[in-house]
Amino acid sequence: MPSVITVKNLVKTFIVGEVEVRALRGVNLDVEKGEFLAVTGPSGSGKSTLMHIIGCLDRPTSGQYFLDGEDVSRMSKDALAAVRNRKIGFVFQGFNLLARTTALDNIELPLLYSGNAMKAAERRKRSMEVLKAVGLENRGDHHPNQLSGGQQQRVAIARALVNEPAILLADEPTGNLDTASTVEIMQILSDLHASGRTIVVITHEAEVADRAQRVIHLVDGGIESDRRTGAAPPVTPRFAHDDSAEAISA
């Protein structure tokens, strides 16, 4: 299996006032294509920093990072923006959808910045496809504040998928959700994994980590354990969701 993410001796230090904080102290990691990886660890363990570097939102102090075969650790800001656009799909804890913008327009956003001149109708069609994939095809005109938390997160997942990224990066994707929505979002992630996506989830919830094939535990900026649960991918991929779970949670 080819590696999608290869991290070598990754170090990140922050200067807070006069104190130097070492958030990551030499992390080595390989993520293969199609893997479902969970990164866990107590707060302050460096998992968010790792996520930011893997997501190309930040650059490492030293060490190397290859994403899909490209060395992105020394890229310019604009090149990183392009990488974020094409290779990475983000799902955040706080959804991070644009308010006053419809679900469809939110999903279209990465397409606007992708540089290739896609026609408006084509963009719309592509956005509709992914919206359908997360089971919200009749919610395209809704604004985020008209959607439940679970629905908002599904829109965010659709936005992350619209550019066919190499990895799906989720930072505490269920942190703001109730139990029913959590189950639903995790089901979507499992389904995506089953269809061959590479997924990295940062979480501190055990039941979320349990869904993954492989769990990395970070402590004090280093990998303490790397265990493969061997959990087989879920048997029945299920994309078309009904809203029943949402209706209960709403």
């Binding site: 923006a81 656009n85 983000f90 991070n96 913008t101 910045y113 936005r159």
Partner: protein, 405 residues
Amino acid sequence: MSVLEAMRMAMHGVAANRMRSLLTMLGITIGVAAVIILVAVGHGSAVAVQKNIEGLGTNVVTIQPGGFGFGRGSGGAQSSFTQLTTKDVKALQDPSATPDIKSVTPVVNGSVTATFGSASYTPNQFIGTTPSYAEARKSPVSAGEFITQQDETAHSRVVVLGQTVVTNLFGSQSPLGQTIKLNGIGFEVVGVLAPKGTNGIQDQDDIAIAPLTTTQSLITGVTGGLGQIIIEAKSSHQVDAAEAEATSILTPGHSSNGTANFRVLNQASLLQTTASTNQVFTVLLAAVAAISLLVGGIGVMNIMLVTVTERTREIGIRKAVGARRSDILAQFLSESVLLSVFGGAVGVAAGLLGSRFKIVGVQPAVEPYSVALALAVGIAVGLFFGIYPANRAASLRPIDALRYE
């Protein structure tokens, strides 16, 4: 991202906060409208003054007694040799010495109270003059006739009245052929002057004109000297020559210690002087207006800075999904330009509308260049003051922007 997309996003941003966008535009609107209106007022008053001076006759040189530094108003009566007399008029009328002069018109100023029946009125101006006055001063009659040469020789008691005097004495009645009393002496009204309106300082129709001879013998007395001599040149480019000829003829008899005791007013140079005065006036008005445009621009910057701060999270999201620095820059710059374009367009409309009304007695005359300039500067101001906030937005680090609460 295409320009069109940037514009669409900017529209979205402007529409998202209507009240604020409107108030921001108002700054630019007021600035642009102020530039247009104030320049139009400056230009309008210049046009009006110019028309008035041209109304006095452009080929005309006026000679008045008294030097620049002394003479009139510097205490006591004028000494006799500063007076202009009919002898001077005769000398100026000699065609061999004054080839460039077409006519010489002496004028005496008096003050009378006119009565007709029970009506009584004191004209602002009462003058005694010769027939050439009508042409030199461009004061033709609209009814009846002007005073004639026979009136002069016969010392006829005739008078030509301005419209204001007619209205005050006769109301709507026709004055022609009627006899009015000037300081108690009966004069026949032979003509009514065509209305000229105000010259900005005084009503030019508030005037009564009688023959010079009659005026001197009955009203002012012969010893008082002339109020002014009006010299008309043969053509507009002979004005300076006519002025020189008149000056050389008058100087020997009217100077003390080598300084001339009379003043020569050249309408053409007066026109030039007022034109440059008006230029200064207009530039000053425009400067005041430009300042308000600048203030409007600072308003745009202020609002854009608030907008950027408020939308930090949005910027973070956009960057996370792949917006480059230039994309964010384009979006926010488009937004501030859009605000100033809208504001400017409304300002042009308001400016053109406002210029249709009289402002402090001046009918504004819109200068096309001021419209183009105001709009261009308004947009440039939006662009310039948009750069700093847009740049600030574009250089935010994505993680910092995403974490922003």
